[in-house]
Amino acid sequence: MALGMALGVCIIVPVLLLIRVAYVLYRSGKPVGAKSPKSYSTLVVLGSGGHTAEMINLLLVLEKHRFTPRYYIAAATDNMSLQKARSLENSWADKGGDKIAKIAAEYMQIYRSREVGQSYITSVWTTLVALAHALWLMLRIRPQVILCNGPGTCIPLCMIAFLLKVLGIGWSSIFYVESIARVRRLSLSGLILYKLRVADKFFVQWPQLQRKYPRADYVGCLM
């Protein structure tokens, strides 16, 4: 009897989980289709250097009141990106003169799973730490929208967002913009999010990439 139940659980749980994963994959990439959405809490993952510059260009044209509150995450080793986001938010607050914009943004740093040149053995441990940290941040933020454009910093966050979707804890729409530097081949981060269908919308900036990855949207250059 107990054995039968254990067996049943062993079969039913994975099957249910598979069905749920299939459902999430089916739902992902389909427009949210909310009737009259007001605003979405938004997580912006800042890459560094050129990635951050491209993201800022995107933020400049998004309607701020639709993507509120905003949470910015950058790698712990990157001290420039959050500063840039801060000055962008401050310029909005100054321009709009509203106090809401000032409190509508939060800034956080995340551990990187692997630094350039780090050995693979120690990176197992640092990856686990980075994942736990990402999980904690995601549970705290519970973003409805995630904007990211590589490099690797966004991967743990996006994977956890997908996991939370599967578990029914939260639902976030993930938008990934491949870097302008990628003309012929996707970056590793881009490839992961595209192949696993984790990104709801996947944008590329060169037409030849779109031909190679037909589920992507070609949007022209952001820079």
């Binding site: 044209v61 530097a181 012929r184």
Partner: protein, 182 residues
Amino acid sequence: MAEGGAARGRGAEAKRVVFVTVGTTCFDALVRAVDQQEVKQGLLAKGYTHLIIQMGRGTYIPTKSEGETGSLAVDYFTFSSSIADHLRSASLVISHAGSGSIFETLRLCKPLIVVVNEDLMDNHQAELAEELAERKHLYCARPQTLHQTISEMNLESLLPYQPGDATPVAKLINRFLGFPED
């Protein structure tokens, strides 16, 4: 001293600066390339008078020069918060292949030679430089072919780069989330 002053005075009339930048990277092969007599002579022949090198984390130290008659004035520094000013005052920019440096230079409508760092493991940066070179927005070179690119380049044939625009992405995101189009 007086001679230096005279040289500066003369330089002010037709000062044409070449600015070399490696960003935050270490790109000794480029610094070494622009330090070669061949390259300097090529730049001189094209009418440039000054060479300023931002060498980043590199260890190769180029030779400084005051710019006596018949030679290029050469100066270098590691990092600066005023890279933008250097770009603005340059007549020609020679840059590493980072997208930040490339687009900052193109936005200022400065003639640009991008030199690809072949020592990088994941050399995807060449893709961008080669694509933009094909579209005639810049010249793309390797450290060992830089002198050739300089002697063969025709800056008149370069086309201005139209800055990009993120509104198509914003539109698609808005539509996906159910926001009305405005």
